[in-house]
Amino acid sequence: METLSIYAPKLITSREYIASGHRACSGCGEVLAMRYVCKALGRNTIISNATGCMEIISTPLPQTAWEVPWIHTLFENASAVASGIECGLKALKRKHGYTREVKVVAMGGDGATADIGLQSLSGAMERGHDFIYVCYDNEAYMNTGIQRSSETPFGASTTTAPSGKASMGQHTWQKNMAAIAAAHEIQYVATSCSSYPFDIMTKVEKAIKIKGPSYIHILSVCPTGWRCPSNSTIKMGRLAVETGIFPMYEIENGKYTLNIDLPKLRPVEDYLKLQGRFRHLDKDNTAEIQEKVLDEYNKVKRLAAGNKAK
């Protein structure tokens, strides 16, 4: 939180780049996060959007909610399209007198990022294109009806990994996309959450200044898929952070900073019990999750502390 403007909500631009009237569910945390991302990006932006909720809610022909140039082609290739846009602009500048400074941004959900689009994202990061990738992680394929992804949390019930007599639902732990992005040795990686607008905007502003790839992973609360009331979106995101389930941190040139470092974490039960997708979990399941959450949180904390010690 480096600039005063970030502290003062009144100084945030009233300009919207994603217009109201789009078709997101009520209480959608993802579109909220996207709105803040776009406010921070400003108008000199070209967006390459993967197939998914945000694409579907914003562009039913012949309408569009977008006030910045925006392209959607397919599910798994937002980063590759962004690569082409970035190189196309470079060539236009060098050869054809194009002068505008434009930030290229690829966006997608957790499925588009961690599953089907992981290859094209990895390729684009490895090649070093000057672009920002934003993952809006709502922890399942919500657009198609709440199917599990590699970002679905352990124990959650989804339509393709449902809980039942013989299954507790998702039995794998979430893929660590921030670590995967950081393994590409890119300059800037951050996690954020739809309940923390200033945090999102600060991180996007940092990413804009990076020359090269940067990656922002935003936990985006989905009341529809998580089966919680639509007026609990902000609370749910905050609980994810306050329980340590979703630590918010940055990795700048490999150095970790824990942005919200709570002296005491709330028990995971505070978060799990409010969501229908976890309703079937028993005490043992909750204890297992609690242990894993503390492990992972402490891992980030240690990495951040090690960074400070240097």
Binding site: P62, Q63, I71, V81, G84, A91
Partner: protein
């Protein structure tokens, strides 16, 4: 205007055409037998002979996706592929056409797995038949060079704005060194105006590309794409005329060879046409009334020219270098359909041959024609014949 004749490998000639077109972005992933084209381009960029962004992508899917991105901001984009690479990018092909992004792609036609086979065959591009791209076949290196230059002009014409595939056979064309004529830079610059997309992605005039359509919009979207593709023929013909005027080499959607007084017409696509010509020459010298018709423009399908070329014949033999497993061979089925509305229509025999790089020599063409005529005589011409299968 036309510079002197030089000997060069066809793939490198295509790379030279792309350089002359002053392309802005090349995104490519290596696959045999396409590699010499993209290696040639990489070398030109590395040596400063071509000022372009070269994106060494991690897959063909991303190659085409990157070309879409580049084309959408108004940059001239090129890629090349073959076989499984073309199949992997298939999903993206459809979007290039529907977003009306004039990407140009060279396809060195190669067989599909399995079994794995790297040699010439048209099965790869026949599966892309319905993707909405303009598709043109070149039979040799000179044609591949010429058609690559024409492709940019056709694709980017403001009445067209559609992607174009230039097909030529893997190895039989791509790796062959032949004497050919290039054009000089000044001539190309006059022939090929700079690319300008009328609604490029630009913060000054934000547009949304790639919205989704409900049932009340989808049909209209497909209709408009189909109409654009069909109507592109006008620009294709006009471009070939203008190219002919500057280069002295004229192209037509359907080209005839010794077809005037023939009762039997053989129809071929791609490089084997040249072997077929030798066979036709020999058979005509022996007094046999055999001629050749070559299909150059595959999409939009040239109904009028096909009917005009074939309707006078008694027998039509169509050679497909692609197999449609369990169904009719692709080129033949379309030609049959085009001729079906005629009152007096020729007998049509479908032959599949030359798969996976298997040669069809002039002598084999003679055999192939004889086999087909036998089938017509015995009234047994309905089924596709697989030519040259070892038993």
């Amino acid at each position: 205007m036309t510079a002197k004749r030089i000997g060069i490998e066809s793939s490198l000639a295509v790379a030279e055409a792309v350089r002359l077109a002053n392309v802005d972005v090349i995104a490519a992933y290596p696959i045999t037998p396409q590699t010499h084209i993209v290696e040639g381009l990489a070398e030109m960029v590395a040596n400063g002979h071509l000022d372009a962004e070269y994106i060494p992508v991690e897959s063909e899917h991303s190659a085409m996706s990157s070309c879409l991105g580049a084309s959408a901001v108004g940059a001239r984009a090129f890629t090349a592929t073959a076989s499984q690479g073309l199949i992997l990018m298939h999903e993206v092909l459809l979007v290039a056409a529907s977003l009306r992004l004039p990407v140009v792609m060279a396809v060195t036609n190669r067989a599909l797995s399995g079994p794995l086979n790297i040699w010439g065959d048209h099965s790869d591009v026949m599966i892309a038949r319905d993707a909405g791209w303009i598709q043109i076949f070149a039979e040799n290196g000179q044609q591949a060079f010429d058609q690559t230059l024409c492709a940019f002009r056709i694709a980017e014409h403001q009445d067209v704005l559609l992607p174009v595939i230039i097909n030529f056979d893997g190895f039989h064309v791509s790796h062959v060194i032949e004497p050919m004529h290039f054009l000089d830079q000044k001539t190309v610059d006059e022939f090929l105006p700079p690319y300008r997309h009328p609604h490029a992605l630009d913060p000054d005039k934000p547009v949304t590309m790639g919205g989704f359509a409900m049932p009340n919009m989808y049909t209209e979207g497909r209709k408009s794409l189909d109409t654009a593709l069909r109507e592109s023929k006008k620009v294709i013909l006009d471009t070939w005329k203008q190219f002919g005027d500057i280069a002295g080499r004229y192209y037509k959607p359907v080209e005839k060879y010794q077809a005037e007084n023939a009762d039997t017409l053989l129809v071929t696509v791609g490089s084997y046409s040249e072997n077929a010509m030798d066979a036709v020459d020999k058979m005509q010298a022996e007094g046999k009334k055999v001629g050749l018709v070559r299909v150059r423009l595959w999409r939009p399908f040239p109904y009028k020219e096909i009917i005009e070329a074939l309707s006078g014949a008694t027998n039509v033999i169509v050679l497909d270098r692609a197999i449609s497993l369990g169904g009719p061979a692709p080129v033949c089925s379309e030609i049959r359909a085009a001729l079906y509305s005629l009152k007096d229509r020729p007998q049509v025999v479908s032959i599949v041959g030359g798969l996976g790089g298997r040669d069809i020599s002039p002598a084999n063409f003679e055999k192939l024609i004889a086999t087909a005529l036998d089938k017509i005589k015995t009234g047994d011409a309905a089924e596709t014949i697989m030519f040259g299968v070892r038993e």
